[in-house]
Symmetry: C2
Subunit: 687 residues, 2 copies
């Protein structure tokens, strides 16, 4: 957690293994296998195969040596391998061999009020692997192994007390306290069948531990896998990984991990049990487990001048704290470590907020004082962008990818702050950010219309940062149905949620006038959305402008925020926004149909006019549909979940958990953290 590191494996014949700060599967591999009584080495197919090898392997054709050579190596066939993929463990079994990958996670302690011991345990950049081999049926001793390669790097052995240790570049490595032979060679097979006599051949790119299990018995080895980046971690701002406070180097990490292995494993098993006991389908549990790994692998718990700085990297894109991801990962972080939400919100205020002017796109020549907003992100690839700037946003574009997301990021800050406060009751935060909240209200209203008499509650004015262009939303790669910001009902639903949140927060702060203003805008916004309903079509067109006939699911997104703030009345069909709730329910019921917003496989299609559906947003909207709008259709829901699982395990086979899919195939936002909106499903039992 917070080490921006990963160990990826599972796809047969694909490269993977350990990586740091990469945003995609590593270039190495994972080597787990055993030797049979004839000396043949059998291993899981968790490393790169050439395309012909892979074809033969996947097609089930023999991978055994051709051309009359003696068979010395064999890949365990797919059909023999079973996998048990739980929330914090992932276990592969075949032919008496078992490999359990343990990736413990749990709430990260708030650095402001936790002990050094708690923080050390939480930030230790490690995971554990337990490899077992059952030799009970054999009359001879056998060997089994666990090994890793990390792309092109080489390895060193460390004799360090009782542990056997292998590291590469002082930054990645593994250790065990069990009795093993430590090997480095070109491949594990070449180490097992060495033609030379040097166990640690230092030119080898593969390193591992080989254990021997006596006849008629079974044996396990426990391996800690660890990561370590010393010194400066980022550019533009000098930071280091938080774990540098508690660990001096990689051997220190590995020794600690082995010493505390029982506690880590207990945490992992507790998470496994939690998910296991949730009243969810296996497909839903899979999606939660899959997205959770992808999230943690993208996280960076940094220290800057002695203070924590929380960064989540944007999967393959490696943008830092992309705000339109933060707002979706909010629910996951609120469950585990709300302090990271506060930390990111305050980073945005301090370093990545700005003030602009606004203009009416019909009369771009005239501008008006704008207001506060926040950047799209804080940099890319560990390069912090300069203050008040994102790496993503560029000027002069009219509703195209890389334009500004000024209004949406503004709603994101408010919605995050609303959820953060109501779930933590952190009064200090609220007091500290009072002026920001006031500025946010003003800014939201100005983006509706600088002239109060002409307001409709939805965004119609563009930021001067676009230099005469037009803002976009987080759905940057979709058509205008979701990509255009102004008059968009997706953004309108988030503006409404932001006004509702401000209404609530100003109430708590005792700012009656502000509260009234926020509520007025919320009501205006709700009315505009309701009024947008097109009776003939049976839904609200995506953009409230003439000629738009797209149907979009995310019109309902905004409902999640008052719900998560515990404002049950606000989202009640009999509450103050009953009409909005009723209209959105009708909208969704009518669009959630094959040919509109359902794919032929039953998967959800966010927009009727764009073949680019985002898993994170689907999961969020599924939750809104079921929990707030009370739309249930067991068969339709199960079919959708099954489709989404297929999208991930087939459509994103290599890139693990991905967000953007075109007809079920990952096309972008791969190896992505955002899909943890699935955590919403854990909150309540489906009714």
């Amino acid at each position: 957690m917070g080490a921006h590191s990963s160990l990826t494996c599972g796809m047969h014949g694909a490269n993977g293994g350990m990586a740091m700060e990469k945003g995609q599967p590593a270039e190495g591999g994972v080597f787990v296998g055993y030797e049979d009584a004839k000396g043949v080495v059998h291993s899981f197919p968790f490393h790169g195969l050439s395309s012909t090898e892979r074809e033969r392997y996947v097609s089930g054709a023999s991978m055994e040596a051709a051309g009359g050579n003696v068979v010395k190596e064999r890949l365990i066939p797919s059909r023999s391998i079973s996998r048990d993929y739980r929330w914090a463990t992932d276990t592969f079994s075949a032919e008496g061999l078992t490999c359990e990958m343990v990736t413990p996670f749990f709430p990260l302690p708030d650095p402001d009020n936790s002990s050094a011991a708690e923080q050390r345990f939480a930030c230790c950049p490690t995971l554990l692997v337990k490899v077992s081999f059952d030799n009970t049926k054999s009359a001879v001793a056998r060997r089994f192994f666990f090994g890793l390669s990390a792309g092109d790097t080489r390895w060193a052995c460390h004799a360090t007390g009782k542990a056997s240790m292998l590291t590469t570049r002082d930054s990645m490595g593994m250790a065990t306290l069990d009795e093993v032979e430590t090997v480095i060679d070109f491949t594990i097979e070449s180490a097992m069948h060495r033609n030379h006599a040097t166990p640690d051949f230092l030119l080898g790119k593969v390193a591992g531990f080989v254990a021997s299990v006596p006849p008629r018995s079974q044996k396990s080895i426990l391996v800690a896998v660890g990561f370590f980046k010393e010194g400066n971690a980022t550019y533009g701002r000098k930071t280091r990984y938080w774990y540098n406070r508690y660990f001096k180097d990689l051997p220190d990490v590995l020794r600690y991990a082995l010493k505390n292995a029982d506690r880590y494993i207990a945490e992992a098993h507790a998470r496994d049990l939690e998910l296991d006991q949730a009243t969810l389908s296996d497909d839903q549990k899979f999606l939660i487990a899959h997205s959770t790994r992808s999230y943690w692998g993208s996280t960076e718990w940094l220290e800057e001048n002695g203070k924590p700085r929380w960064v989540v990297n944007e999967g393959e894109y490696l943008m830092m704290n992309t705000f339109d991801l933060t707002v979706d990962m909010l629910f996951f972080e609120m469950r585990f470590n709300p302090w990271t939400v506060r930390n990111v919100l305050e980073q945005f205020v301090r370093d990545y907020s700005y003030h602009d002017r606004v203009f009416d796109p019909a009369k771009p020549g005239k501008s008006y004082p704008g207001g506060i907003s926040f950047t799209h992100d804080m940099g890319v690839m560990n390069q912090f962008s300069p203050p008040e700037r994102s790496s993503y946003e560029t000027a002069g574009l009219d509703r195209e990818c890389f334009s500004y997301m000024t209004c949406e990021q503004l709603t994101n800050w408010v919605c995050c702050a609303g959820v953060y406060y109501t779930r933590t009751e952190d009064r200090d935060f609220l007091r500290r950010q009072r002026k920001v909240l006031e500025a946010c209200l003003e800014s939201l209203q100005i983006r509706d219309n600088p002239d109060p008499r002409k307001r409709t509650g939805i965004m119609k004015f563009e930021s001067s940062r676009t230099q005469g262009g037009g803002e976009i939303t987080t759905y940057d790669s979709l058509d205008h149905s979701l990509g255009q910001a102004r008059n968009n009902i997706y953004l309108a639903s988030k503006c409404w949620a932001a006004y509702v949140a401000l209404d609530h927060l100003f109430g708590i702060l005792g700012l009656a006038e502000r509260q009234h203003a926020a509520r007025s805008s919320a009501e205006l916004c709700a009315r505009s959305i309701v009024d947008g309903f097109d009776e003939a079509r049976g839904f609200i067109p995506a953009v409230l402008e003439p000629g738009n006939a797209s149907a979009i699911i995310p019109a309902i997104e905004g409902l999640i925020f008052p719900h998560e703030m515990g404002l049950a009345q606000v989202v009640s069909p009999s509450g103050p926004y009953a009409k909005l709730i009723h209209t959105l329910r009708q909208h969704l019921e009518n669009v959630l149909k094959p040919g509109i917003c359902l794919y032929p496989d039953g998967g959800w299609k966010l927009s009727s006019t764009a073949d680019n559906s985002w898993m994170s947003k689907i999961a969020l909207c599924q939750h809104v549909a079921r929990t707030i709008l009370k739309i249930h259709n067991a068969k339709r829901d199960a079919k959708a979940d099954a489709a989404h699982v297929r999208w991930q395990i087939k459509g994103s086979e290599f890139h693990a958990c991905s967000d953007q899919f075109r007809s079920g195939v990952a096309l972008g936002s791969k190896y992505y953290p955002r899909i943890v909106t699935t955590i919403l499903w854990m909150d309540k039992k489906p009714s």
Copy 2:
């Protein structure tokens, strides 16, 4: 120099650009071009093209936009580009555009007796690029540019005083004091024809400077390109780059480079002139210039505990201070900075020497006390190997790749020490290493035969480190003609050179008995080589064992050391080793023929029985042939040089300067430092 960094370009359509510690061309590109009056951007083809693009480009087919699109970009065609490749500058010109890459080099000051200012100037990790555009014939202002990409990394702009500066990951970057627009974008063309309004689009992977030249005039911009690695540089031992003593960060490097640009350019031009004035053919000058760049790009000037540690990396293999390369690069280092030779020799003594036992391969069960020797290398990929161990050598192999090179590395230490002392007269070194020299003599003699009565001067006993196997030579990938150590006449010639060196050094040290012993072994060795001459075949077979009939050129290699030590009598046809000189002359004259040791193209073939010829060794042996053996054949020599140039520029087109060629095509040891044996040609005018 000493920064293990490179900027590679020149091959059309290939990736390249800046790299650190890579051992091969970088994954980015170099972007140099201009805009014509119609706004079309023309650029040199110094970045990756897809294979189809490349085919079209190389075949001369139009690279202009197909399908009726408006042409906005064009690659300057090969036929228009001229290149002037000198010792320290490399200038490309076409269509009024000129790009001069300035890579200054000069003697590195000895840290023990030079000023901080001298060291700062020498270790500054920078090179300079001057880009000019001639717009004198145009009536409109035009733009031209210089840009770089560094693979997948992103860029940051720095406003720093008068310089415009662009950096990536705080480790690579460029700066100029000239008036330019600083751009970051997906490509330079997209920056020149931006559809947005943000000059520094921080997601862009290409960064550069765009200058404007008024009508009827010309203009140049001078760009400093710099590298910087902060903190720890290596693993296994903690070191940092020497330049960290004098520069605090990359902007500091770039500012200094620009401030001192005139001095750097003057140094580069002085080297250019030096090579230009040498009485050598253009082909020879090219090979010297090409190998020089490859050498410097592999060097690391490190600091460990306040002391310098010199490392040369083994090209694509990245092994550190591979001793059988050190001994070949000796001549280059002796010309420029002899202290690096001393530094490496003393690293070997301190950290990478060992003592073994020896055995007779006919009776491997019985071993005898051996002696001192040195490891093959000191590690790989910046991972220092443990003391007394190389990364390369493994036990239990019988004369195969990755076996031990115990005897050869022993000769290497002695030969390097001999040349170092005689050229520097560094008495302190000689006194400090007296005991090592004594141990080397003893060790050499024992590897001949532990029983003094049975000695022949050549190596016949194997190191116990091979665990019953057999030693190899630096020619590890060749057949036994050069690969087997024992009874090999290549190694014998180096043993002879080592004995001769010891004879000389013990004379200076006044150790008469040792001197006598060394001389006896030298004479024995010379006699064995002479006696090996096969009158029927007309040459000495490579291995002095029954049945061997390979003819090898490197039998003459050892002659270089006494020659470089100034021992003119030793290598004189009328001196004490007249018979040896005479025999080797006859040997070479007879093997240097098509079908034996000449390829059909006239290139040299090191062994008659192996198609794997090494440029570094060819250059060395050419020098021995011409200067010591006085074998001249102007037509044959010119044909050979022309072939070797073709090997490099066609056979190693992508990997720049390489060492191992199979029939003129680079097959290994690519992007390699060792080829600077060409420096020997600079010593004297050919007679």
